[in-house]
Symmetry: D4
Subunit: 222 residues, 8 copies
């Protein structure tokens, strides 16, 4: 099968995570081929960075079966995973602009059967709202925080809760905040101890790291 | 007088601020000459960025008369200014490493007779301490906030108080926070409206901006 | 109301500024929903970074009622604020390319009932024009200076007037001046004391800072 | 007590981590004062970024009692913590130059009673050595990987093991690798899913993140 | 002939490489003129960075005769070169996104009659696949490695084989990996000795360097 | 003579400028050898970037004959050039910190027999002083402007005079102005037409460019 | 006249150069208004950065009279200037991609009646061509060199000729050469003395600097 | 043996290159231990980046036996390798400042028994000297070019000779050329085809790449 090398089917056993199909730099034909093979073998599959135009151009049977989410640019092929009996992950966002990235994380977790709860619009400019939700957030073992601009949410949250905190800087903003560099540096260089970071806009990576934790600690029935 | 051009004595009338002597790139001899002339004419004078070694190497009479502060690297020549009857400026610092810059601001204000009150160690990693002092800080019309690392203090404070807020990013920190760039970008690109910024470590500039405000609004008996 | 979290209605009391709706990263549907709720509650509202295409795509009743300005990409919902009896703010621009940002500042001030006066095309390449207007500008307590390219206007103006000076670097220019970095650094690193800076193209932020000043000093009947 | 504000004693309850004393920007006198107070109250304390010269200049009784490690620039005041009955954390280094940072992580873990095991000199240029140790490393739920230069170790390790992986880029290297930027970007932008990152040279931060995990998942008797 | 200067026909003798026509910044008319002249003189010619739109807009006879490859954006005018009796070059790619650049290298080699063999999808996240192909790759005297993101493939491969290794960083990736800078720095700053690098996405340059080697060492019947 | 290759004696004829000896990266022994050979041949010679420590370590006869200037770090071997009957070059500096670089330019001009006149401390923060000297400066065909920090002097001067204007950015300043990048970008990206730029701190280069002009236009009896 | 401030008509007297109309950030309406006023007053005018789309959208009478050049994006309103009796300026380009910028320089010179001669495709990869033209180039008092990519042409040319040399880095290239930064740094940091530089792609600026020279030295009948 | 892991003795077989000891980040004690072990086993060894101070502090027997070269900061332990019967490598330098890096390359080659010939001071500012040596250089199959500042030598040389060309950018220079970034980018982004690059100042890497070539092509009796 010529496209066989496009998908690493053995990874699941090695590190507990299937390989997602990163669609940003793949042609519609390449994606359609991958989907057709996966479907023929009855395998489930997660696709990321699949924008609506490219998704609309997929017209094969397998593509038609795709559970596609236009906000997060993700697609899931195959049956929904049974939700594990686990509290899951809290996903805190600073503003509306962070919701697409947050949803990429939530969809990735759901693909592996892990629930998540969104805590939206808790940016530090409106600190009281964040303080009101503090206890609810702190009840989760893992918190994914998604923020752009100056990324102050990461340090503030890290000083308020003892959970594992994964920062996802986002690329919205303008001027010095453009492209997410300021938020990324804030996540890395903050004053509160123990914040962990992934690449800009990488909701998928934050979810994968969460899944590694649950697997490592035998939690969530994973 | 050959060194006469080194000091712009007419500026006070034009913009309400004397020219401070920025010592970083001046030789001890140049500084001593400036001091001698100022003393001969009975003028007061503020010196900034005068490090202890250079200060110690000044041995003329005028230099001996200098009120030198080793923490902030500032020196004041001449009589202390009478303190104005004005509440003055609140100077909030995130951590111990920010105190030298905060003190440069305080000394500059004092040179012009304006009081200031320090609010120390209110970094966002210990958010409760900041919240406890919120009302006391908010009572000041002007707040200078001094912070390095990720500079989250600027956005948090801007969301908590309605005062004028001048952010002074500081150059301490390491890795991505080194040299103050992250804190500077956080001050500029933050999510809370109306934060004003000066150059990294520029406590003197924040004080000068405060003095412009007091002059512009006829406040403080300036 | 599900979109209620998209708008922080309590901020006005806390810091004296409503939350503006930053439209750059919001969908037309989200903006339309926010406008509909605000109108239903009879609240006034300021929208920024709303480009003409997105503005044209808003077709609900509330959107129709929007006072939209295509140059500054701002929209105002609700009755015009009564103009305060205050001299207001001088807004100085270096060139034609700076006028959209200047207008964002002027519209924000107007939303809060504060007048402003534009001083256009006073870039330093034509220094005499600037010198001719110096006294008129210096009569304002607050001066917002808007300039791109090398941003020399900020230092020159700061040496000429004693008013509060807020620099807004703009992103026009090319080569080394592209994206506004040179103008921003000039504003921060200039030789004249007491210049305050906001993010690149952030006319809204400069206006908000002005409003903080007027509130702090009890000026303008605010 | 005037220096009381220099140390946030309440943090332990809030987030499960005491505040470490970051000595880089503190004077010997400030450090000595903090140590004296802690000792008087019988509190334990962790100090980081305390270089040998500064450590040697501390001559008070409390300082004498410090368990100081010159390689990692850390000091521990007070009794050793009883080691928890937990497998602990694997700390993998690419080369000799990474050992000081690795040791900062190990000392921080030990301060909280958590064991760690070093896996040294496993850089990818000698891939067989890394492959030989793969199973031993994979047996740990948490792996801290410490590497400078091009940071290829992070991606390689993430593809080999399913444990939680925390990357600590280090600042050694020269030319394009100087200051750790390349290693940091490799950690963030790698091709293997679920790598988590902290600031350059931040062994302390990686340890704190590990402690958050153990606390969140109730592991290690923490 | 007015466009004669557009093409350096004497270079072949000097350095053993014809000048390729870099089409990125040439107009269709300029390209068509160059092709017409070359065809009239019976010369062969290689074109690079000719995107499909521009290629489609070429409608002269000479253009029609072009052997155009849309994936690599290359065109070859004239008869195919006879393949030399030489093992040729191994071209290893990390992922699907690297194949266009790899193909630019392969097409350039083929233009000069040198065979190449692709080794696809051997990124380090799936290390076993790379290890399985190690001996086959090591059998080639020259290996061109093409990778984006964090570029870990370069160091890993350099530690596994003794062949000449030419790294071609690619510009795909996002966040800190965008535009290929991280992969480039990894190629330059890696820990394995003797890796050689060319510009980002420069498959053509890697092929030219290979051709220099074969010529210098009298290999391949060149 | 083994060190013969260290000095290009034929350049004078080719481009009208001798090769200066750039001492920054040469050892005292190498410099002493070059001086000895030049003296033996009776040649004149200009040395740049020779700091006082290195100059003091030169103890040969030829070195003793050196006309060394510690402020500009330049040395001249051989007889003084007869001053040409030409008005020469105006050298304008913004502040005291710029005088060493200005003097490097003046010494280079003097080495070739060209006079120069310093116009000191004319930074734009004190604009009136600059305006007072405008006519005197404008009388020179060539003006070298030396400034650090935000480099506003370049644009202001270019708008005031019609002379050739060569900008020399200097590396003093701190924060965003550190290392001269902001001043350099201001020189390149300014709004006034026809400003020419050389490298940061390159007074020697500005002088050489002036000498090219005088030679090209047959001016100054050169 | 409301748009009167858009054009500085007094500059010609001050510095010998009219103000060109920089069209990049002006609307078609603004440009049309400026043209109409200039025509009504019988003034000549130079427009730069006027792209073909914007030029085509200008439909007033004055716009119709514009001498527009689509390659250089320049327009000239009014009668052609009589060519001065002066050898003029040599304009050397490295490759085809540099010709648009070279032509902006040539058109600016022509606007002021100064001839120029193009020396095309003399990049250093084909050094012999450059050497063949050396004497012809060296005969010009002023040489404008236009090059992108690595900008080696600037240093090579400066070592070959004694004329005034103005480097114009161009923004074509890819990878590390993208946007012209490498060529700019090569122009500034080269090893040959006396190279002068303007902003990336700034052919207009190089021409203005040439005109300053001719005016300053009384050459060209200017 | 506890320090056994500090040195990878198996690498020679795998890739044909022993592991050199990179001393920059090793303590004198670590280096002395490595030397002692190697000597005890009768192994030869190459040390790089060993500065004179650290070298002088090595006082064990093995250290005494070291063939140390202070210019290149390299040391060789063990008998000199017999020189192979091979023409070897040409090493071209632009200026005196590049000689230390060139010598690191030459010493590395000599360690493996490969001769090299230096071609010194052939920077492009004195192009005739380079042209005079062209044929002599072109006679070598491999040419290592070492240059700092603007790195124009790389492109010029690549256009003149057909040999394999390895560029080593060096870190000398100032202003925009500081730290070698401009020379590196010139090597990567140049206009002549087939230039290969290594990290800044990496003479060792260029030599290792040369050794890979000789091994791959069975040349030099290696």
């Amino acid at each position: 099968m010529p496209t066989d090398h496009l998908y690493d089917r053995g990874r699941g056993q090695r590190i507990g995570l299937d390989e997602a199909v990163f669609c940003l730099s793949k042609t519609p034909q390449q994606i359609a081929d991958i989907l057709a093979h996966a479907r023929a073998e009855g395998r489930r599959m997660l696709l990321t960075r699949l924008d609506p135009e490219k998704a609309a151009s997929l017209t094969t049977d397998a593509s038609m079966a795709l559970d596609y989410d236009p906000e997060s640019h993700t697609g899931i092929l195959g049956a929904a995973a049974p939700m594990r009996r686990h509290k899951g992950v809290a996903i805190v966002t600073a503003g509306t602009s962070d919701s697409a990235v947050a949803r990429e994380a939530a969809r990735t977790l759901a693909y592996y059967g892990l629930p998540s709860e969104p805590f939206a619009d808790l940016g530090v400019a409106g600190l009281w709202r964040l303080l009101e939700r503090r206890e609810a957030i702190a009840a989760y073992p893992i918190v994914i925080a998604v923020a752009g601009m100056e990324g102050a949410l990461f340090s503030v949250l890290a000083g308020l809760i003892g959970s594992v905190l994964i920062a996802v800087p986002t690329s919205h903003g303008y001027g010095v905040s453009a492209a997410g560099r300021t938020a990324l540096q804030a996540a890395l260089g903050g004053c509160a101890p123990g914040v962990l970071t992934v690449n800009i806009d990488n909701g998928y990576g934050a979810a994968c790291a969460s899944l590694r934790m649950l697997r490592a600690f035998g939690a969530g029935g994973g």
